[in-house]
Amino acid sequence: MSANRAAALPPAPDLTHLQRLEAESIQIFREVVAECEKPVMLYSVGKDSAVMLRLAQKAFYPSKIPFPLMHVDTTWKFQDMYAMRERMQKEADFDLIVYQNPEAVERKINPFDHGSALHTDIWKTEGLKQALDKYGFDAAFGGGRRDEEKSRAKERILSFRSAQHRWDPKIQRPELWRLYNTRKAPGENFRAFPISNWTELDIWQYIHLENVPIVPLYFSKVRPVVERDGALIMVDDERMKLEPGEVPMQKSVRFRTLGCYPLTGAVESTASTLPEIIQEMLLTTTSERQGRKIDHDQAASMEKKKQEGYF
């Protein structure tokens, strides 16, 4: 059932929270497209990107999505993610740009030899900056949410970056009502976060209600994993370097977030339907980002990464 249609009969009840969130996100998509010269949507193939894609389709229907989607690829994503990307491009009919930092390609940067920090920095942070410069995008939609992390709670819907892509708290603009100021000098650009006010539960519930296709890795299945530093890492392809004596185990696992497979911890689970996933999430007692290795280094580390240009 459509979130739009649910409350459409008079005397209509209040819109549901998902209907209001959806309408707000669509308004942001349209506003940026109407006022910017060259927007792009960053597409990571994860569940937030899946919701973003659906919202973008809704915002411009019956027109095609009027901007390209760009995947800043690291070559180390799960194989299922690449498969989903191809499938969605066919189904949703959007222009896709896949960008891989040529320096990272040449130096064969990988999480095993170079460590997670360098790997992420060169493929993702640097890759994103290069891609934005190469194509001259002046606005980039991203799937950041304010509930993800403390420092995100104050992020604007439109987050301004200098021509060097730096985030500076001093150049951020007040956002009143539904009015977004998109004016900027040549070279300056901004990130737009249409789902800022969604929570993780909202995302899952929307995926459930709207039948949004998501990568199968979110659902539990018996998969080959090894345990490292307390995390379950999936042996997704032959590039996975096993430690001496390490033998992959077959376990029923799923992923709460998706990224580069050697850096993404799985959780043991039997949840194989959306309601079961939501149930598990609601009953679980650790927050979403714990499976993502880059967050743990130090307190307020996301804020530091944001200043450096990482999402």
Binding site: S2, A3, N4, R5, A7, A8, L9, P10, A12, D14, L15, T16, H17, R20, E22, A23, E24, I26, Q27, R30, E31, V33, A34, Q57, K58, A59, F60, Y61, P62, S63, S151, A153, K154, P169, I171, P174, L176, W177, R178, L179, N181, R183, K184, N197, L201, Q205, H208, P275, I278, Q279, L282, L283, T284, T285, T286, S287, Q290, A299, A300, E303
Partner: protein, 631 residues
């Protein structure tokens, strides 16, 4: 984040079904750190189980390390975000938090309470349906409580909750509560808050937050959270006439032309008569198009695409509205403006105004008064500084569709953007259109500018000479005029000093007066260009923004900016009028180049370097360039 309901564990489908029908309430919390605001929000997140175990573990560790509760959990640490703030122990921005109960999802705008953060509070208030104003029971209604209430009322928040906190520290005294209530009621009536709900509570102990506490048996009202769950939110907007600012014209192919937008008030159905404002063209709604299929009705708060039965020319910035009750159209208004930038608001300076989806150039008149946000006194003001609030008239360069802010926030609320820095420098609320803007109509004349210029055998131009005092502008302008005159052109020279003896003798040299000085001269120059003349303007005109305004007043190619470039040291050495000397001794204030800035042109049509060229040669060059373009 277990919502305690057993339903999750037992019947997830039933839980989801219930949860998807939750409504949404946005509320603002006002108060300072001392009032326990962060503690209250932390408590709401905690009590609604929005805190994960890993966060809780971190919180317990932090509480021991930097907490203020003697090792007990310090809820305030949950919500203080950026690293810098943690160190300073204050919140300096608007933070948004999320939690939900079995009935509602809540978005909390958490804003700091100090006077220097008025702009943050106004920002947070702009999207709030309700406001929770915190009062420390030990201190009662303070200056800051009055300020918060005034801002809440100014931004038109309908539901006000007075959270009288820290009641445990006054032994839950009913007398204390009643005294605060009476004080507040008397004050609230003055600022138009007629209804509010006062709740005695202890955020730290959790009393009267999620459930009525036994600590105060004399209190018969609701606890905070149940009260917030029951507030009505969308009833009023939906009852108002239909309005949808057009965001984007949706044209996938030649057969489809839809108008996409967010419905800001009312409802709409296929067959409804609508008007596009300001053009006034009328049609009927043919379809309400969404990806999920056409709708039979759409309501305020939805994003939709409408198609119309007739081809009418509407575009982004226009408003589709109920034919029977369309918004007004005007270009001059009275408004309340909240200034949000370090650079003050200067009367007469052109800013970009954004209202709905419309962008127009706007200038603000000298404030009628500014408001002391603590005492609500009206004070005289020449301009508005950061965090100041004033009532000012606004003048736009094109008419726009609007509703008074009190009726519709989307069609009455606007932001002001600086044209050079692109910062959002102010926000405002329209009160009403000024009568003169509706009654004074532009007189269309048969003899136009081109005809008048043709009769003089020339093309009208403004030659705008800018540069420091003593740079040689007037000397050069004078020589240029003599050459043009000799060539049979019709000219006029507007000189800064001369105009200040007459038309502008009421103006001084403050930034605000300089802006007004240039505005008047630019308008006079425009009239003269309209008369077909070649106008030479010789003014220091130190600010880019005003030169830009003058340029925008004229037609394309009519404005020729000449930068008379003399370095400060050289101008000061020449000091023809002895003014630099006076400025250096402090006898003359606000002197350009000394204690008032000069912003050099970035792309002048003509650049004269007076250290490399005589005044005669400069005049020759300018005259030649003009003649080339003129013939």
């Amino acid at each position: 984040m277990a919502h305690v309901s057993d339903l999750i564990a037992e019947d997830i489908d039933a839980y989801l079904e219930a949860h998807q029908h939750k409504s949404l309430l946005r509320f603002l919390t006002c108060g300072s750190v001392d009032d326990g605001k962060s503690t209250l929000i932390g408590r709401l997140l905690y009590d609604s189980k929005m805190i994960f175990e890993d966060q809780l573990a971190a919180l317990e560790a932090d509480s021991k390390k930097v907490g203020t509760q003697g090792g007990e959990i310090d809820f305030a640490l949950l919500v203080d975000g950026l690293a810098a703030e943690r160190e300073q122990g204050i919140t300096i921005d608007v933070a948004y938090r999320f939690f939900s109960t079995d009935k509602r999802k809540f978005i909390v705008a958490d804003t700091p309470g100090h006077e220097q953060y008025t702009r943050n509070m106004v920002t947070g208030a702009s999207t709030a349906d309700a406001a929770v104003i915190l009062i420390d029971a030990r201190k009662g209604v303070l200056t800051q409580s009055r300020r918060h209430s005034y801002l809440v009322s100014l931004l038109g928040i309908r539901h006000v909750v007075l959270a009288i906190n820290k009641m445990d520290l006054v032994d839950w005294s009913q007398e204390v509560f009643d005294t605060i209530l009476a004080d507040y009621r008397a004050f609230a009536a003055q600022i138009g808050i007629t209804e509010f709900t006062a709740i005695p509570m202890s955020a730290l102990r959790g009393d009267n937050i999620t459930a009525v506490s036994e600590a105060a048996p004399w209190y018969k009202g609701p606890a905070l959270l149940p009260h917030l769950e029951d507030l009505p939110v969308e009833d009023q907007l939906r009852a108002r006439p239909f309005r949808m600012p057009v965001q984007w014209v949706n044209r996938p192919n030649l057969d489809f032309r839809g108008f996409s937008g967010f419905i800001s008030s009312g409802t709409v159905k296929p067959g409804d008569k609508v008007k596009s404002i300001p053009s006034g063209r009328e049609s009927r709604v043919a379809r309400i198009v969404t990806l999920d299929g056409d709708l039979d009705i759409a309501v305020a708060g939805q994003s939709v695409t409408l198609t119309l039965e007739d081809e009418i020319d509407a575009s982004r910035g226009d408003v589709l509205a109920a034919s029977s009750d369309p918004p007004q159209v005007a270009d001059q208004f009275e408004s309340t403006i909240v200034w949000m930038d370090d650079e003050p608001m200067l009367p007469g300076r052109p800013y970009v105004l954004k209202l709905g989806t419309r962008l127009v150039s706007a200038s603000v008149a000298e404030p009628k008064y500014k408001v002391n946000v603590n005492t609500l006194e009206h004070l005289a003001a020449k301009r508005l500084e950061l965090n100041e609030i004033g009532v000012c008239n606004l003048s736009l360069d094109a008419p726009i569709a609007f509703d008074p802010y009190v009726e519709n926030h989307d069609l009455g609320g606007f932001i002001l953007i600086d044209r050079i820095s692109n910062r959002t420098v102010g926000a405002g609320m329209l009160h009403f259109a000024l009568r003169r803007s509706q009654n004074v109509h532009w007189q269309a004349l048969d003899v136009d500018k081109a005809a008048r210029a043709r009769a003089k055998g020339q093309t009208a131009r403004v030659v705008w000479l800018t540069g420091l005092s003593g740079s040689g502008k007037s000397t050069i302008a004078n020589l240029v005029e003599k050459r043009l005159m000799a060539a049979g052109r019709h000219t006029y020279l507007l000189d800064g000093d001369n105009v200040r003896h007459g038309l502008n003798r009421d103006l001084g040299f403050t930034d605000a007066d300089r802006v007004e000085n240039i505005r008047r001269v630019a308008e006079v120059a425009k009239l003269m260009v309209d008369a077909g003349l070649i106008v030479l303007v010789s003014f220091i005109s130190p600010f880019r923004a005003e030169r830009r305004m003058a340029r925008d007043l004229m037609g394309a190619d009519e404005f020729v900016e000449v930068y008379v470039d003399t370095p400060l040291a050289e101008a000061e050495r020449r000091d023809v009028k002895g003014l630099y000397k006076k400025a250096r001794t402090g006898e003359l204030k606000n002197f350009t180049g000394i204690d008032s800035p000069y912003e050099a042109p970035e792309h002048p049509e003509i650049h004269i370097d007076t250290t490399a060229m005589s005044a005669e040669d400069a005049a020759e060059l300018i005259a030649a360039r003009l003649m080339e373009g003129l013939d």
